[in-house]
Symmetry: C2
Subunit: 136 residues, 2 copies
């Protein structure tokens, strides 16, 4: 479970390991409060002047692995998330795949939090939903 | 390679199989022209009245697998893409990982097209980039 107080580097490792487009952040009772997108972590690692001009990337004298450790190592998830928290659309673990698809379509979200008895069970992405839908 | 004239069902299968948040659509010469997000395919499959009220999902008398076949089977990628095509940010296969991160951060895109000699080589997502960055 990832909360606002989880380590930012741990969250980045989870995103990387499971190839997730984003990760659901919960409060201490397991209720989803935000999504941390992988692209937001990438933005956090790259300095502003290199974002403005990617040709300046060559002047960085650190490897990306070192940059990740330096920029994320002593940070918490709350430091990397943008100030504006988003509501996370949720579905229930017992919902049918059509209901899940309907909720995803309605919220135009590539990611939903899956709840069971009010607690976060996991996450479903649009591509995983398609995989389930296409399986006969 | 996916073009505007590729089958929509084939594109959905590619998204599902590789768990991609989106797929790059190219013209016949291999130049990227658009991104088809997995969430857009999900929206296309779910009828409008169910998107407006997901509790109506139960009235659908088709399985999701049948719906996919019915809605996507005779459609092309161009039919599923929204009218407004987006520019696809590109990187070069020879770019460093820092340059790729900088381009991704600059465009706030979760997905980049990777080009080699003017042709599409593949796609890199934010989570795959993090995985490469975190590998020592």
């Amino acid at each position: 479970m990832v909360t606002m107080d989880s380590g930012a580097l741990d969250a980045a490792r989870l995103l990387a390991e499971h190839r997730l487009p984003g990760i659901v952040v919960t409060d201490r009772s397991g209720h989803p409060t935000a999504v941390l997108p992988a692209s937001q972590v990438v933005r956090f690692i790259v300095p502003g002047y290199v974002q403005d001009d990617p040709s300046l990337a060559g002047v960085l004298n650190e490897s990306m692995a070192d940059r990740c450790a330096d920029k994320l190592g002593d940070k918490k998830v709350r430091d990397v998330l943008r100030e504006h928290l988003r509501d996370v659309p949720t579905v229930d673990a017992g919902d049918t795949i059509v209901e899940v698809a309907a909720t995803m379509a309605r919220h135009r979200s590539p990611l939903l939090a899956v709840m069971k008895d009010g607690e976060l069970q996991g996450v479903i992405t649009a591509s995983r939903l398609l995989a389930a839908a296409l399986k006969h």
